[in-house]
């Protein structure tokens, strides 16, 4: 069955101040929000700027805010909103390129700073710790595993958008970047590399800038638990400073 949906989309360009435009589209009741956005582009306004690729939460490119909450619209059914109008806005705390597209350059630089890569051959074991796969995305069972599955991250930027600290300090390294550092740290015993990683996460724009709102972990669609990684890094960095204090 097809339903008529109202989308209120935040539009902007370099020379056009952000403003809302309302569109009505017809989509299947089984559609996801990304399908509705595509309908706007296909039938209402070909100039609408938005990003997407995979349509199944693997690429992380389509992240936007739906009714104020950060989401991957490719996996959010329109049925979740029972026909109510949807307000679609770009991610917060990024500069806008146009409409729903934001500038992710700094975000990707921070992701790479720790030499983190999302694609690599399957690992059977991290340093000394077997990987505990939960075999599912159930938050309850996931909560018992050690934080060793950073490859869950699809680099969508949702955590940076949800983070209130990011809104106050644009130099903050950001939850995803810090979680990437933690992930890299788990994989190496090399003291030089560990020192480099911990120094990267240290400092006033690093882990210490976080004010524990936990919004990153709450918003992350992939259970990366960035806030937990930040707390774990703090522990490691504190240990490192204590060791240095006693000349070790």
């Amino acid at each position: 069955m097809s339903i008529t949906l109202t989308l209120r989309i935040l539009r902007s360009r370099r020379d056009v101040m952000p403003h809302y435009e309302t569109f009505e589209v017809s989509v299947s009741d089984a559609a996801n929000v990304l399908d509705a956005i595509e309908q706007v582009w296909a039938h209402r306004d070909r100039k609408l700027m938005f990003r997407h690729a995979c349509h199944h939460a693997s690429c992380g490119t389509c992240a936007v805010r739906i009714n104020g909450r950060e989401k991957l619209p490719c996996i959010v059914p329109v049925a979740d909103y029972s026909g109510k109008p949807l307000t679609i806005e770009p991610l917060r705390n990024f500069d806008i390129v146009g409409d729903l597209v934001v500038d992710m350059a700094k975000f990707f630089q921070n992701q790479q700073a720790s030499d983190f890569v999302i694609t690599r051959p399957t690992e059977n074991e991290l340093v000394g710790k077997p990987i505990a796969y939960t075999g599912g995305m159930d938050p309850e069972s996931a909560s018992t595993i050690p934080f060793n599955r950073f490859e869950n991250c699809v680099e969508c930027g949702i955590c940076l958008s949800a983070c209130p600290t990011m809104a106050g300090d644009h130099k903050f390294f950001g939850p995803a970047g810090l979680a990437a550092i933690k992930r890299q740290l788990d994989k190496t015993t090399d003291p030089v590399e560990r020192k480099r990683l911990l120094e990267l996460a240290d400092g006033e724009h690093g882990v210490w800038r976080c004010h524990s709102a936990w919004e990153c972990t709450e918003a992350c669609p992939q259970q990366v638990f960035p806030a937990e990684s930040i707390m774990a890094l703090r522990k490691e960095i504190t240990k490192k400073h204590f060791r240095e204090l006693f000349g070790k």
């Binding site: 935040l10 902007s12 101040m17 952000p18 403003h19 805010r65 009714n67 104020g68 909450r69 950060e70 806005e89 770009p90 917060r92 705390n93 500069d95 806008i96 909560s143 949800a162 209130p164 809104a167 106050g168 644009h170 004010h211 524990s212 709102a213 936990w214 919004e215 709450e218 806030a227 937990e228 707390m231 774990a232 703090r234 522990k235 504190t238």
Partner: protein, 130 residues
């Protein structure tokens, strides 16, 4: 005010008050800041009031009469609420910051706020009982 405007970049922090995105952690975050500002303000008011003490009974005694008025006692209850919320939530932030109770930060917040509510009711009863 549309905070997506590039010229309002410096005011992005005002997005904290976009209640559409509030979850428990964000509520705790806002409460911590609001109570912190309240406590700092109180500290200055407290110092101002204490200077009256130095001026002797002529200025201090009338103040004590005001301090016993019900509306003033209500402000005492508000102060107690601020102290309890900020202090107990602060304890949670400090603990989780050391990696303690990280997984249970939400139930920890709820439990500490229940403690705050109970202590506030007990405190309010005592304040108004005189």
């Amino acid at each position: 005010m549309n905070l997506y405007r590039p010229d309002l970049k410096r005011f992005r922090f005002l997005r904290w008050f976009d209640f559409r995105s509030w979850r428990l952690g964000m509520i705790a975050y806002i409460l911590n800041r609001v109570t912190a500002i309240g406590l700092v303000l109180y500290l200055y008011i407290h110092l101002a009031v204490l200077t009256m003490l130095a001026q002797g009974p002529s200025s201090w005694d009338p103040f004590i009469r005001i301090a016993r008025a019900p509306w003033f006692l209500a402000l005492d209850v508000l102060l107690l609420a601020g102290m309890l919320i900020h202090g107990l939530n602060g304890l949670r932030i400090a603990l989780t910051g050391f990696g303690i109770g990280v997984r249970g930060q939400k139930p920890l917040f709820v439990a500490l706020m229940i403690v705050a509510a109970v202590a506030l009711i007990a405190g309010a009863l005592k304040i108004f009982a005189g």
